[in-house]
Symmetry: C2
Subunit: 195 residues, 2 copies
DNA sequence: TGCGTTTTAGATCACTCGATCTATAACTCA
DNA sequence: TGAGTTATAGATCGAGTGATCTAAAACGCA
């Protein structure tokens, strides 16, 4: 019983993601956002609250679209050891095919926002914990079916995989060299495969 | 034959480092900097050029003070395998004893600045390459004296150590948990020690 | 068609941004 | 001491910041 919105919320959120993802939070102005989202500042504030709330919504959607779907797709279609390989192959391919070096928005957030915004910091930490749990499920399953080494605890191997993921993603922003990123992964893979 | 500066360049640079380190480049204003450095904006511009040039000088000094001296100290006083352990022990201790979660200014720069500032990006990439070379020297020496595995190439092991370093440093900004950071390192150490 | 509601668009708020100007103060050397 | 040089302090520049206000436009329902 009132005027409906002229914009598609998911579409304008995707535009906001692109802004925040490539420039970060501080370097993105509300005018940049409004222009890219095809709306005026007033509409933006009316629909999303303030800049920080818009960032939170953008990050939530980014995580759901990128991490959520990928984990589900990989975990349901591959054996545990292959799931880990596939996950990292995709990450490395993404990092190398990223001409603007945007990296991963979640990890960028972990660096720029987590220490200064308590609430956002918790969200980010939770997602990183989910990632660790994904790796942990893969490692445990792999240890059960004999495709992953039992020489190290599943907990520590999962933590190593999480750390390796962040390392690759961050390093790619400054040194997006195929040999470097793949070289990091090789000893890790060898460790997992060790009898 | 003119009026000498009233400030100590190294002291005001240290103050600038603290600003940029804890808040990042974009979120730090020139007024923040001038206040922390105990000088006016005009003097700041006169002495350092502009904000970006000041950031470069701050980062240079940060790297020289933190990375340069640590590498030299560790590499000259310890055996190669112990040097790697000591390096990471120090990094983890630093990450856990960092109540404001500032992390590593160089790695923060790699995320915030490297993709958007070509010149600074090269500087950062060069330092990361130096770090890789430090690890490479340690690994090669360790492989020679039998304290580090030869099951993996020294190149890849050095890359792994660099990636692990970045992973730990970034993860600590969102999840500064002792078990997590130490857990990452354990499988890496086991891999190095493998016969 | 008019009422109530909500979203628009554009102007504008006070403030802060990086950067600069001017005038004064502080020094060296002749 | 006075000429020349440089650093200082404070005011201020235009542009841009996040956020808000007002008024017009677009709907559903009576």
């Amino acid at each position: 019983m009132a005027r409906p919105r002229e914009f598609d919320e998911t579409k304008v959120l995707d535009a906001a993601i692109q802004c925040f993802w490539s420039r970060g939070y501080e370097a993105t102005s509300v005018r940049d956002l409004a222009h890219s989202m095809g709306m005026t500042g007033a509409s933006l504030y009316n629909a999303f609250g303030d800049k920080r709330a818009l960032y939170r919504k953008s990050l939530d959607r980014y995580v759901a679209q990128n991490f959520g779907t990928r984990v589900e797709r990989i975990e349901h279609h591959l054996q545990p050891r292959q799931a880990i390989t596939a996950f990292f192959d995709e990450i490395i391919a993404r990092s190398l095919d990223d001409s603007r070096r945007k990296g991963c928005m979640l990890i960028n957030s972990a660096v720029e926002m987590a220490p200064h915004d308590k609430r956002l910091g918790r969200v980010i930490a939770d997602v990183l914990l989910e990632m660790e749990r994904f790796f942990l499920r893969c490692v445990k399953a792999g240890q059960r079916d004999g495709t992953i080494t039992k020489s190290q605890s599943a907990d520590n191997l999962a933590k190593l995989l999480l750390g390796t993921l962040l390392g690759i993603r961050v390093l790619a922003r400054a040194r997006p060299e195929p040999d470097l990123l793949r070289g990091i992964l090789k000893p890790v893979a060898a460790l997992l495969d060790q009898p």
